[in-house]
Amino acid sequence: MIATVFNLPRLRLNGLIGGAIAGILIFLALFGPALAPYDPLALDLPARLTGPSAAHWLGADEFGRDVLSRLMYGARTSAWIAFSTDLFALFAGVIIGVAAGYLRGWVDRILMMFNDALLAFPGLLLALGIMAVFGASRGGIIIALGIAYTPVVVRVVRGTVMSVREREFVEASRVMGNSEWFTMARHVLPNCIAPLLVLATTMFGWIVLAESALSFLGLGVPPPAPSWGNMLSTARPYVNQAPFLIVYPGLCISITLLGVNMLGDALRDWLDPRMRT
């Protein structure tokens, strides 16, 4: 009772702000290109590296391309990559993690051997290696980062599943004659949702950053197409002349991460049965 009273305002605030930020991001991803004042690739050489002005609200980059337009186009690329990669890693991670944690035995041992081997590589290095196979494209990035982050999800899911499956309601389900699959889907998985949501929102942030790191290494979204990540990395040489070039995409990434994390918190509380009446 006390928890409900104390948490509700926080829940609402988180949900409100997080929801608003996520809403803006989705809106930009859908309609950004239609609303952008300029073609993100159009060059306006006289305006290159100029700060905010009436013509270019957020300034223009080293080729005189409009920063605002590039950010709005980039939102689609970055949000799409982060979202799909996150889903990819979650989907693969949950299937492997649940199988390992619930079935145990040799299935667990073999899956976890592979998983731990993958975990031993730094995520970015692994992604680089996979990119070498799939090539630098959007699809390639999603698959590479997805595979790189799956082992983390597997670890978290397996641990949670192993603790939930020891609870007596899972045994009760088996005694009723329910199949292993039904028990897993109906009783085990829903009770693993809280840590998964936290992981998913944190991972969203990692992925946006990882994508910019890949871009920085020349393996991300290939220029001249804009993404927040490659805008950040191409702005680096001009950090003294035109610091705003690095500030705007950086701000976009930070605000998005903040919003996604707050939304995740709110979702987790909302999905917690103890918060319901």
Partner: protein
């Protein structure tokens, strides 16, 4: 100075604990006196405020709770207004506390020796060697085998009873004036419970320590405490000598507590009430595989060692034993949760009006199980209706409407009304949850139910209700039951026959009255002696209790 000498060890007057500064009162106008060297018990159900009253003494109230008014005096000195730094010197040195959960009240990452030394290092200026000697002496005193090794051992290497003894020892090492024991043995089984409590009383007497014992178990408490305070909804409703309170309760609530103490129910006449064998166990052996080490596997551990047993149609067979005796393992093998290593389980199923034996037990109509902990046996995300309806998924002969009707019918039978159907488990009390668990077990009208310590986690009054409900349902539907328990009080109320299990073997089987009144095996006798059953004590010379022996 003279006031200090005559003042009682602990004197609580007009204590009021509220949620926030002026919220709901959790403890309301409580008066309590503990004289030096005396054992006083505070008894009440969960939620009666007994634990919070005890915590208020040491200023250990959880966050929104505060002491609104009243005085708590230790030897005449008021603790409520005391500065935190001064209070810290009193905690441990003058007032010790033992908590309920021995599994979590010792720090798992510290050796026993270091944990026990902590108090002495903090409150005395003794040299390290002296501290070590005192700890060794104390460990020897509480009969821990190999005290030298115990110093460098970690808590997980000890059983629950041992841990509680160690906890007790480390508190008593400082020779406090007052020991607060909050349900110190509720998590332990009967035999161990008795040992720990006896030890506590001995240590308290040796050091002249007064004890404030907090418990929901009036029967146990009256055995040790000279005086009892009964609490209900934050108020002390009755105070008196424990023998008097037990024999002539004046307050209606106290009477309910006394009535809830286990008493033997009438025996159902065997033979005509029960049919033939329903489940037959033949020479069951269950091994747990040993742990996989780096290059070898530990040898398997034998949990059940050649058990043959028969459960008759419609009867309640109680399987009794201490923790670790293999009784739960055996119960789980009967519902198919684990397969026996050797032996045969024969189930005489009724199919189309005739019974035929088969080797395989299925779930559903054959057997169901009720678990001990109603907090973990229900899926926190399912509503009560869905929980109870789930076993009916496999009832192919029932349609949706029939299933819903059956669920409602069963919920009514276990005493949960219409409005409970839509609730989630966290909105129910422990007793209500256990009713839901029972409803789930009987919704398919099984022939056999395994109940694994179904009431151990509940208050005495709730235990009584649940056991009565269970017996009632059983006589209505005639399912047989294997009642697994260490609690002889509960067993005495529901069992028709009793099987006593020790170290994986059945050492004695017989009709309930036979086993309780004329136990043959020494282990059965030990269990019965430790159980402090009310009938036996009243029968054996009326009111004699340990407390009265000590004061006499």
């Amino acid at each position: 100075m003279s006031e200090r000498e005559t003042a009682p060890t602990l004197e609580i007057s007009g204590l009021k604990v509220t949620v926030g500064a002026k919220g709901e009162a959790i403890v309301d106008n409580l008066d309590l006196v503990v004289e030096g060297g005396e054992i006083v018990a505070v008894v009440g159900e969960s939620g009666s405020g007994k634990t919070m009253a005890a915590r208020a003494i040491l200023d250990l109230l959880p966050s929104p709770l505060t002491v609104a008014s009243g005085r708590i005096r230790l030897a005449g000195e008021d603790l409520v207004k005391m500065a935190p730094a001064r209070l810290r010197r009193i905690r441990g040195a003058h007032i010790g506390m033992v908590f309920q959960e021995p599994m979590v009240s010792l720090n798992p990452s510290m050796t026993i020796g270091r944990q026990m030394a902590e108090g002495l290092r903090l409150h005395t200026k003794l040299p390290a060697a002296e501290i070590r000697d005192r700890i060794l002496a104390m460990l020897e005193r509480i009969r821990i085998p190999d005290p030298q090794r115990c110093l460098s051992a970690y808590p997980h290497e000890f059983s629950g009873g041992m841990r509680q003894r160690i906890m007790l020892a480390s508190v008593m090492l400082l020779k406090p004036d007052l020991l607060i024991a909050d349900e110190p043995t509720t998590a332990l089984d009967t035999l161990v419970q008795r040992e720990v409590l006896d030890l506590m009383v001995e240590l308290a007497r040796e050091n002249g320590t007064a004890v404030l014992l907090i418990s929901h178990d009036l029967g146990m408490v009256s055995h040790y405490a000279r005086r009892v305070v009964v609490m209900q909804a934050g108020k002390a409703v009755e105070t008196g000598l424990s023998g008097d309170v037990l024999r002539n309760p004046r307050n209606a609530y106290t009477r309910r507590l006394v009535d809830a103490l286990p008493r033997r129910g009438a025996a159902r006449s065997p033979g005509d009430a029960f049919g033939g064998a329903l489940v037959e166990l033949e020479d069951i052996v269950i091994d747990y595989p040993g742990r996989q080490r780096m290059f070898r596997r530990d040898p398997p551990k034998r949990a059940v060692d050649g058990v043959s047993l028969q459960v008759r149609r419609g009867e309640t067979l109680a399987l009794v034993g201490a923790s670790g005796s293999g009784k739960t393992t055996l119960g789980r093998s009967l519902v198919g949760l684990l397969a026996p290593t050797a032996g045969r389980i024969v189930f005489h199923a009724e199919e189309g009006g005739e019974t035929r034996p088969r080797d395989k037990i299925g779930g559903g109509r054959d057997t169901q199980i009720i678990f001990q902990d109603p907090y973990s046996s229900l899926d926190p995300r399912q509503r009560v209706f869905d929980i109870v309806a789930e076993p009916l998924r496999h009832a192919r002969d029932m349609n949706r409407g029939q299933r819903a009707a059956r669920v409602r019918e069963v919920l009514a039978e276990v005493g949960l009304g219409e409005d409970f159907a839509a609730r989630l488990p966290h909105q129910l009390s422990g007793g209500q949850r256990q009713r839901v668990a029972i409803a789930r077990a009987i919704v398919r009208r099984p022939a056999f139910v395994v109940a694994d310590e179904p009431v151990s986690a509940l208050d005495m009054t709730v235990q009584k209700q649940i056991l009565a409900l269970f017996r009632d349902l059983q006589s209505r539907y005639g399912f047989a039951c294997l009642f697994v328990s260490h609690d002889l009080g509960a067993v005495e109320q529901v069992a028709d026959r009793v099987a006593v299990m020790q170290d994986g073997r059945i050492v004695e089987t017989g009709e309930r009255d036979e086993v309780f009144d004329r136990p043959k095996h020494p282990y059965t006798r030990a269990l019965l002696d430790a159980a402090m059953l009310l009938d036996r004590r009243f029968a054996a010379g009326g009111s004699e209790s340990a407390a009265e022996r000590h004061t006499a």
